[in-house]
Symmetry: C3
Subunit: 261 residues, 3 copies
């Protein structure tokens, strides 16, 4: 039997919002360690990986590892019926074909119980190797979202040029050229406004804006986003979920003419 | 001659919002007692009934009973031209084919006068018999609206199960099953947050969510909604308009398998 | 070489919003006096004229007169990438085919540089003769916007009847008739709430609401709008931009039956 409880439905709603445009169906793997999900997007270009640690929940019980195959759209639709402040309980039997979600309002006089049918999904898990990255950029997640959205007006790709002390985001297109420069920003009142660049060697790589814009749907989950980047390996766009886990997206660089400006 | 005046256009705008998706044309019956309207919805499934008492107006004069046939869409469009705080005057001659609406802003330097053409409508009035109901539920109108909207994600119908102390709203569909339980709620800071269940015998009836969702367009009119319900007679969904009257909707229960869960 | 700087991108964004639905391509004429633009709308019915004076900028340098042909949609798209509080610099070489726009955030650690390709446009400038007008009405710009929007629900045209002390806006249509009367309003707390009517002879002219509603896209630029009106010449709808210049729209009256009510 599996049963877990979160004090606020909001975080689970935000996680579904962060995933639903990328993936249609996915498997939540449940173990004593917590919940996790890994899936290629529906066009098999990027990968998303979610970890929610057992100790981040109000209560968490999992007697045997189980796999919950869900239609993401349905799960999001049902979670939308929860108010942000409702507490939420997820339950499933070891061999059942239902996921039960219970939402309870703060003063306890409204309880909503949803039973969602599970799907038999056969999804292959890719191993994600541990990796050292040449650069790690941390920046306000909403600033990253704006930049990706703005540059999509110009072109299909963004070139990330990371050097000591700053980052350039450039895009080319029929209507012109754009370069957004962000300088490291350390002395800030609010930690989430910081921009930090941790670099062992400069990088200069190009990525598809279409996918970065999908990833920024996770913006409400975290004040900061981290970009981990090295030549020849996928970029990692990571959002930490306070005390609970993370959502990470992986996207391989474009290998075309990224050096001619 | 008919002439009446309300201090705020807002309430009349809200009434039109509450009616307009259900009915395309209707007759406002004007008498010395006030304004009233009764109409089946355009697919002849539900019935709506509005009463606005003469004593709720700033001034009300009606020399002879008259019937004002209006296109609801047109009347709503014109009322939208009034600001919420404008005072509003309705005028019609006894044998005229025009309804005049005058909106005046609070400091009196802007006056808008709209003359709307009336229609010759032949609408049969149904008698609505006085009725004792097995159960009367009163609850926050926005909570009822949320429940009806949420359950429409699951199925086409909602089953209302009313017992002493609480109400269950259940829905079934391809994606699963939902049950929302509301417990009676008496000690509240704000009267409109209360949930009360007045019951002489338990009921268990099923209704089309499509129509309940039309009815909840009246939510802005009143903090509370009342559900009056008895076996074999239409449900009454009622919204009181403070000091002025009410909007009531009538909907017959579905007679299919409402008892197998 | 041309280079100018504004402390807030907001005003330039608002100007583009005010123009973009009317004109697809236009030429910004740059001289030592400032920036100006004049263009017929794409259906050649109305005319728009913009003046931004050199002295209204933080800095302004123009060595030789140049003409910058721009696609309005592209320019607006790029300006939308600026935050309202960013300062903005425009730059162009004397014989170049690029307009460079640089946005810098207030604390100076984010710089966005956009290079927009210019177009070779051959646009004929109409002389706008200096003119005395029979009436000048000044009123809150958002009130004018509401009136034009409301009356479009009734008919295609508005008749302006201006007499000493007030203005009538009337419209006729299949659903009825509307007349909105505005009285002169002098004693107001906020200057932008005033309604003033300056009149040498009464006028009574009819205009296409479709175009007036395009013009009111300039509403955010100014708290007040001015209507300058005389028989047989185009109405001027003007929005002053504080310390910087103005946007003016010209629209000829309709010559059909404007006098039979």
């Amino acid at each position: 039997m599996f049963e877990c409880r979160l004090p606020k439905a909001k975080v689970l709603k935000q996680i579904m919002d962060a995933l639903k445009d990328l993936i249609k169906e996915a498997v939540w793997d449940v173990s004593a360690q917590g919940l996790s999900l890994q899936s290629m997007d529906s066009s098999h270009v990027s990968l998303v990986q979610v970890t929610l640690k057992a100790e981040g929940f109000d209560s968490f019980r999992c007697d045997r590892n189980i796999a919950l195959g869900v239609n993401m759209d349905t799960m999001q639709k049902l979670l939308r019926c929860a108010s942000n402040d409702d507490n939420i309980t997820l339950k499933a039997d070891d061999n059942g074909d239902l996921l039960t979600m219970v939402f309870e309002n703060p003063n306890g006089d409204k309880t909503s119980e949803f039973e969602m049918k599970l799907m038999d999904l056969d999804i292959e898990q890719l191993g994600i190797p541990d990796q050292e990255y040449s650069c790690t950029v941390k920046m306000p997640s909403n600033e990253f979202q704006h930049i990706c959205r703005d540059l999509q007006n110009i072109g299909e790709s963004v070139k990330l040029t990371i050097v000591k002390g700053g980052v350039d985001f450039s895009a080319y297109g029929d209507i012109g050229h754009a370069k957004i420069h962000l300088t490291e920003r350390a002395n800030v009142d609010d930690e989430k406004d910081a921009v930090t660049v941790d670099i062992s060697e400069p990088v200069n790589l190009t990525f598809a804006l279409r996918y970065l814009n999908f990833f920024t749907k996770a913006t409400p989950l975290s004040g900061q986003v981290s970009l981990e980047i090295s030549p020849d390996v996928p970029l990692v766009v990571g959002y930490e979920i306070e005390d609970l886990g993370h959502v990470k997206y992986f996207l391989a660089p474009k290998i075309d003419q990224e050096d001619d400006e």
